[in-house]
Amino acid sequence: MAEQRSLVNSVCRADVLSPTCHEAEPIVKGEPASGREQETGRTLSEPSILKIAAFGSKGDSPTRSHVTRPEVPKDVATYRAFRRLCDNIVKELGRIGAFLIKDKVSDEGAEVVAEIEALLEELYTCPHGQGESLKRVVVAVQSQVNNTVWDRRHIEFLRDLFFFLRVRYLVDEAAVDTCYDFMKARGLDPFRGTICEPRVTKRYRIEEVLEHDKSSGTIS
């Protein structure tokens, strides 16, 4: 029996904090060993256990590396944001077809246009891509779609571009060139560059509200 207990304790010490070691007796600092000392020759102090536990969880052993979750690399994180924004733009472009009247986006479609413009602004701040390539792509797109009434050409250009971009990991100089190729293919002027200070003007209106006074039967 003593031999069995000794074997269990030694296994537990070697495989510290293992969930399979439930039957082993706890080792308490300062408590008499109650015969364990005679069996094992020495006890493990608490800091030693922690050291061993820390050693085991550092990932030195390849079999235990799955315990700690690796951090997502920066490139992957920015790509996710980039992909999400491209997907959202494509999703919005899918809705805009309903607002096309005589090849022009109607006033009701301004909601979708505003949403896409906001997504483009967000994409401008996304740090994905090589150098400032993504920013250049966004600036090129904005030069076409800002301050104009959208028509079929603008929508087709945006569809071409974002179907191309959303499945692309590398955003570099070639992406900028492709953006201009799509622009020309859809009959847009690559030299149109309309960028202005973003500004929201709030306008207030004072309205006279008429309330019916029930007691007197008059309108005040």
Binding site: K135, F191, T194, C196, E197
Partner: protein, 249 residues
């Protein structure tokens, strides 16, 4: 070549009209600049050019295009890429300077760059954002301008005899700034430049061909009076007339 009945057409027959000879137009730098400056001039010129079958330009015009509109874009870009640059300040400062190309610079700001903001009520942060966007837009536009001239605006850019290497080189972005690589044209100094030799050889013959059109063009008259000056790339003044050197053949 056969007709519908399977018989060979008689070339002497009166029914067969001689194919019209293709009309050709030589587009000089002024015309090319005007096509990019304003929409009204562009429309006039496009309507005029639609009557020609074949449009061509020369390597010299391409170098001049680089030395004017692309160089001015580079000047603006260099100011905008400075640390903490503010768009409205850069624009106002560049447009207040004295020089031959100030009007061209204004055209670039108004009709090519098209970045707008008032210096009176813009905040510093917004002004810097505009500067960044204008700089990025210029980085897109500068290569596009060269490509437009060399590949899209004309059917061909003739450069065989002149063999001007500087004309072939597109503007290239180095680490931060652009490089346009303009030649220093000084007579007798640049030993590799063929322009002087070509004009010496071909000049008299060319002027004979152009004589009937001298009255139509102020620029051709200037060219005749200053024909002794061979290499004038950096000294040319561009008159505002639109159809300076459209030559039909």
């Amino acid at each position: 070549m056969t007709n519908q009945a399977g018989q060979s057409p008689d070339p002497t027959s009166a029914n067969v009209a001689a194919p019209p000879s293709p009309t050709r137009a030589l587009l000089d730098t002024t015309v090319q600049l005007d096509r990019r400056k304003t929409e009204t001039r562009k429309q006039e010129l496009e309507a005029l050019l639609a009557r020609f079958d074949w449009k061509f330009s020369t390597g010299i015009s391409l170098v001049e295009f680089k030395a004017t509109v692309i160089q001015e874009c580079l000047t603006i870009h260099n100011q905008l890429r400075r640390t903490g640059a503010r768009y409205t300040r850069v624009r106002d400062a560049l447009l207040e300077k004295q020089g031959q190309q100030i009007s061209l610079r204004a055209h670039i700001f108004n009709n090519i760059l098209q970045v707008f903001g008032s210096s009176f009520d813009i905040s510093e942060d917004k002004d810097r954002q505009l500067a960044e966007r204008a700089r990025l837009l210029l980085e897109n536009i500068i290569p596009q301008l060269f490509n437009w001239f060399a590949k899209e605006s004309v059917d061909a850019v003739l450069n065989d005899r002149l063999a001007c290497d500087r004309a072939k080189e597109p503007p290239r972005k180095k680490h931060a700034a652009f490089e346009v690589n303009l030649p220093e044209c000084k007579r007798g100094k640049n030993k590799h430049c063929n322009v002087e030799d070509v004009i010496r050889e071909e000049g008299p013959q060319l002027m004979k061909l152009l004589e009937p059109h001298l009255a139509e063009s102020l620029q051709l008259q200037k060219a005749e009076t200053s024909s002794s000056k061979c290499c004038r790339i950096r000294k040319l003044n561009f008159p505002t007339e639109n159809v300076a050197a459209l030559v039909t053949a």
